[in-house]
Symmetry: C3
Subunit: 275 residues, 3 copies
């Protein structure tokens, strides 16, 4: 017997470059909870490098596949706030994304399959007074809260086709080498590349092989390990990380510090001759 | 048909200078959830500069207007913990504030209209054993959790009139210049002043005007923009920020780094002659 | 009249050395909410020093006594991820702990009384594909979510007896001095030792006494205060902190900066002769 419907509990995630010392993230949560007191709010991160849309897109696309279908993901890395760049809702086969039309949302959305993109311009779903410096609070947060209450996305504004797409270099093969670049450096100092497990397999490179890795004018011969602990502490290694990309790591140490790597650095990988 | 009352879901916010690496914030949440498992806890920030009551008061007052009425705000920047400074509850027209009687709560409370201030001294609403170093956990958290369960604030202790008030300089006009100071520097490096949009309007300064800004022996001529993107990247500008105060900013850069500004620095603003 | 059972709301806490800039913590939360949408997730901290199992154990053991009984604590400081170290569930008289078998969980668990320890090897409660770099997401998060739904811990794998135990030096007396070490340095710079209030009482040292403290070749005479504010600002003092251990602190300042202390430094304490 069931008399009272279960409340529909929607998950709303937040990602931004706001940091945590200011009131900004809390203001977004306050707006969401004012409109939708049942929303479950989960922070993805607020420590995206300021204005770094590519880093934001990468972290968002890493996290969102693990959330339940129907989650509403709000992301704000928004150097163009208050200019003509549009606020958008992206509807995918699985979720909704809310944020600026600058490419930030599209790496994650594309992986799920983009169904529709809407230009949010209906003031009914924004705060009564919209600042030109903080659309996270004044537009994206209320839009997400109303979406989570079941408003159809088409009510928020017209569908558009000419949305921005981020430029992400794909790894490719040239003269027997995989050419890629550094996508992300995580808090452990792991150097995450854009070279996928699939890219390596096509080169007949599997776990247990030796790799030659050229990064920042250094050439390293690294074992493609399946766990950090396969090499001694403080020793560099290669590994397929938890997002299925090749990482250069140091067991219990920081690869980015050891190799002075930064986002965007080119990386060349090939099979190392075994001795 | 409705048989079961919806649980009353109270929001409790937390602000402190505790940082995030220690168990302190989690201990406060643990105490709240032990008393009131239904409470919705939202962090405002725990990155207030250690012991900086003014910064705490500013960030609290920025965030709280966006939360629903009835929210219980707990704030702990408390250099006097364990001394004679009193724990208090402030009841405003809209919310409750819980924290030390050192002025921290009063900027936010005053904006809402202070109804009553109570000196919390009823041990029934504290942890059985109150340390003299951590009233956040031992007094403020349980008081907030009991308030959220509907205990009337007068049960926690006697009403008082002689509570502390923080000293905040107000911007004022002298010889055709607005004299203010730096209230806050945010994580982007935006320099937030205590000069309000209203102060500027009284000087006939509106968006689109040029401003002369004197800060730290530098004199800048800045456009009062309505969006960061109105000037080129890495260029300084003036803007009315999301809290309605004048900010000195750099588009996609850090104004505080460029101008070496810090909290408390004096700032002089006047209309710049147009050429 | 009560027709609908209240949802059983389980609290799941998270502690790690992941930091907050990456998607890792959010991925764990996503997995938990996918399995158990009702779970209340509380972060203890994600700022444990990388790979520092002892610091993780200390912070975990400080926080967990304040949570309601039945809480499920997930902790991940895991340099051995992907090697033979086992994933475990520890059932205590009061709570469950989930994490790696490297000692991290045991300081907290031991305080509560360990009932059973299980080696988690039932793939039914893990993600379908388990990476060898991120057991937080692939094993510990889903195990915690299933535990919170009421699965008995014995279903997750066989009981074991040979689990790892962390080595924590206990303070002891030699030649009239208490010999201890630095356990933790908090975000305020307070130097937390492994010398308990009980250790001091056995030496007839109480609040109000003067202590002689030897730390890093410095000898200090400090008052054992009951509140930071008992000495002037920027003055060092000794105090029993909120976890009942002796701390060396500086009122409104940082003792670790003043005394250049770090975790593991030896500390000698004795009663100072009064003059």
């Amino acid at each position: 017997m069931k008399i009272v419907d279960e409340a529909i509990v929607s998950i709303i995630t937040l990602l931004s470059d706001f940091g945590l010392k200011d009131p900004y993230v809390a203001e977004m949560k306050a707006v969401i909870l004012s409109i939708n007191p049942q929303a479950r709010i989960v922070d993805i991160t607020h420590e995206i490098e300021k204005f770094n849309i590519r880093m934001g897109a990468f972290v968002l696309a890493s996290a969102t596949p693990h959330f339940p279908a129907g989650t509403i993901h709000v992301a704000v890395v928004d150097p163009g706030v208050g200019t003509k760049r549009r606020p958008i809702i992206v509807e995918t086969k699985r979720n909704f994304y809310v944020g600026p039309d600058n490419g930030l949302l599209m790496l994650a959305a594309q992986k799920e399959g983009i169904s529709h993109v809407y230009h949010v311009n209906n003031p009914q779903y924004m705060l009564p007074r919209v600042s030109r410096t903080f659309h996270g609070r004044d537009i994206f947060a209320p839009v997400a809260a109303h979406l989570a209450r079941g408003r159809p996305p088409s009510e928020f504004g017209p569908e558009i086709q000419d949305y921005a797409f981020p430029e992400f270099a794909k790894a490719h093969v040239r003269k027997g080498e995989l050419l890629g670049e550094v996508l992300h450096i995580d808090d452990f100092g792991n150097i995450v590349s854009n070279i996928s497990a699939e890219n390596l397999e096509k080169m007949d490179i599997y776990e247990g092989c030796s790799l030659r890795v050229k990064l920042n004018s250094k050439t390293l011969t690294l074992k493609l390990c399946s766990a950090y602990g396969e090499v001694a502490a403080k020793t560099p290694l290669a590994i397929i990380g938890s997002s299925d990309f090749l990482e250069v790591s140091v067991n219990q140490g920081s690869a980015s510090r050891m190799l002075k790597a930064k986002i965007g650095d080119p990386l060349r990988v090939s099979s190392a001759p075994s001795h």
